[in-house]
Point group: C2
Chain length 401, copies 2
């Protein structure tokens, strides 16, 4: 078997953990498997590099930022190879140039285009454990690029696809994907299987243990993933294409309190207002999430949308500077999103109603609603978030096996 294993920064944060990872990999290697390991930078090292850069230049050129970032993963892979060597197993570390990990040109947010698997195959044939730098690539100018936050997951999936691996294991600090955050919902249960689409919705909702793009890539190339803990040997959660039979009505509840609602009251009711509004926000890279438009009084309309808390004040500033013809602008950070996700939803009516009923039973007011084919999200007061999650979790019996 050819197995790709990805370990995050926490798993390689110090000497002890590096050896722990090395031993786990060697265990599978000694069973006769070929092992490719993808690593992130140690612990919070990427954050340290950002601090170092910002001390020199508050807005460092992105090309140079990526040049600096890539040393984090290179440190991890070199030290891991030394650890495996110490344990008597031949191992070799490879960076993005050596792999050759070709990406698009965009610094800080590149996408993998192509991987030359020749070098990796050569080393595997010599029975070496191959340790690859996650997160980084090389663009057509021969410059380093990085894949964005959590990009090491994407590296692992792309390698698994390129090498036609038999398994792709994503090691993390939780046991797998849960029906809800166990810290908020005590009855939350680990799922054995989720579909790619469910995982994608969960990732988008901030409840995901996997990088969004890695799941998209896994779905595209049919790479079956296992999410499992690097701290114990518990069976994790398999992420794969779901058959009709397997599709759960609701597979999980996700909450996100990093949400702010911005309401613009009394906008002129004429064509192009929404376009102009969201276009100017997009220009400043403000993410908008739920959007609600309603007819106001006297030929005006009201537009509300949600964004993350950090962007809320900047969004309000942009609106007040670019638009004058509205009555009032309101920013509310005391709100939260709660969502249910399930691949079975698209063929089952009444799921949303059941969720609303759970909230009504708890006397929790719904302020906005947004839906996708396999997801229902509502905006509520932040203080009600945990109560809402527990109520919905119970209503759908998600804690039962």
């Amino acid at each position: 078997m050819l197995i790709v294993k990805k370990f995050g920064g926490t798993s390689v944060a110090d000497k002890e953990r590096i050896f722990n990872v090395a031993r786990r990999c060697i265990e599978d290697y000694q069973k006769g498997n070929d092992i490719v390991v993808v690593l992130s930078a140690m612990g919070k090292y990427t954050d340290e590099l950002i601090t170092m850069a910002k001390d020199i230049n508050e807005i460092p050129p992105k090309r140079e930022m990526d040049m600096l970032f890539t040393i984090g993963e290179q440190m991890s892979v070199a030290l891991m190879a030394m650890a495996m060597n110490k344990l008597g197993v031949p191992a070799i570390s490879l960076n993005a140039f050596q792999v050759a990990m070709h990406t698009t040109s965009v610094y800080g947010n590149a996408r993998i285009k192509r991987i030359d698997s020749e070098r990796i195959r050569h080393e595997l044939e010599h029975r070496k454990i191959v340790i690859v730098t996650g997160f980084q690539g090389v663009n057509k100018y021969d410059d380093y690029t990085t894949l964005g936050r959590g990009g090491s997951d994407t590296t692992a999936v792309a390698l698994a696809a390129a090498l036609n691996a038999d398994a792709c294991e994503i090691y993390t600090d939780v046991d797998g994907v849960y029906t809800a955050d166990p810290r908020k919902v005590p009855t939350a249960r680990k799922l054995d299987v989720v579909t790619y689409d469910e995982m994608l919705e969960l990732a988008t909702l901030g409840a995901g243990v996997l990088h969004n793009r890695s799941v998209e890539l896994a779905k595209k190339f049919g790479v079956q993933l296992v999410v499992r803990s690097s701290l114990n040997t518990t069976e994790g959660t398999v992420v794969k294409e779901g058959s009709k039979m397997e599709k759960m009505l609701v597979s999980g509840v996700a909450g996100d309190s990093d949400t702010a609602r911005i309401a613009i009251i009394g906008l002129k009711d004429e064509p192009g207002v929404a376009f102009k509004l969201f276009n100017s926000l997009a220009k400043h890279n403000i993410n908008k999430d739920m959007i609600l438009q309603s007819v106001g009084r006297h030929g005006t309309k009201d537009i509300s949308f949600t964004t993350n808390e950090d962007s809320a004040d900047e969004a309000a500033k942009i609106i007040s500077e670019n638009f004058s013809e509205y009555e009032s602008l309101d920013v509310n950070k005391e709100v939260a999103k709660v969502s249910i996700v399930g691949a079975g939803m698209q063929t089952n009516a009444g799921v949303a109603a059941k969720m609303f009923e759970a909230l009504y039973d708890e006397n929790i007011n719904i302020r906005m609603i947004s839906t996708s084919e396999i997801r229902v999200t509502v905006l509520i007061n932040e203080k009600n978030l945990e109560r809402a999650m527990n109520a919905i979790h119970e209503k759908f019996n998600l804690g039962d096996n």
Copy 2:
């Protein structure tokens, strides 16, 4: 003009010094020059990486050690590019893959074979300051190599040769090359010019401010070097091929107290003894320096040699384990070497005699003598080192302009 400038680790040890270097480079850039900057790792970062590696594996694989080492220079160049950008000047950092700095295969001690100057020229044409990682290269396997201690000097000279640069400036923490170490000889004077050969002898004697191999390379390709301070704007010392006229009788006095003498008394006087002795030392990478062989009593011979203090005990151990047929073995660490160097020596008799006279005047006993075409070295008691250096310095009137 195309100028290659090399700055060592001390010159880029912190934010303030990085900006200091950036401003110096920008000054020459703004006069219309093309600037290529070569940097070492920041401060003692290379030592930190060694500590990090040894904590994982006392004998880390050299290939992985080089993989780890290279991140030091990559950090320096990325931060420098950010600093120059902050000062409003376009700059780009390049590592060994990007430059392409081709070396031999030997990890930890590679030699530069070839540099593809295309990428650097392209960036210079776009009026960018190009910042290159010193010390590192890439071998035919597409693996990182390093050039050995002080290798960044070599990188700078190799780049100056490949780019046919008009000047190659090596910035250091001293003002240039002195007639003697100013801390030991108060009347020591900075030299305006030294020849490549003099610089080579000085480097070998531990008095050099330049990496040995960099001087060899400069001599081979006729790259004129300037050694100058990164802390002030004093004119430095030019290192170049000397004309007959310029050759000084004696250009400097060097002392080295990191010396031990090992004497093996009463070895059998038969062929192959010296070969076997030094061959077994070479196998353990013990550097020998001065060698003296003399005829002993009753058909035996004595061999003495010097090595650095750190290697002395290991050398004695190797000898006692591999040879039994000698009378006694003596290790003396209380010795020092003092040398005079001068390109004019080869055409002037009496230089050595004058040096010996200076020592005789001071009643300093000479224990061993070794000479090259442009150098005379004697071994004396360590406690007499400074007195000897000053006496010789004065005898040759080196303090006079």
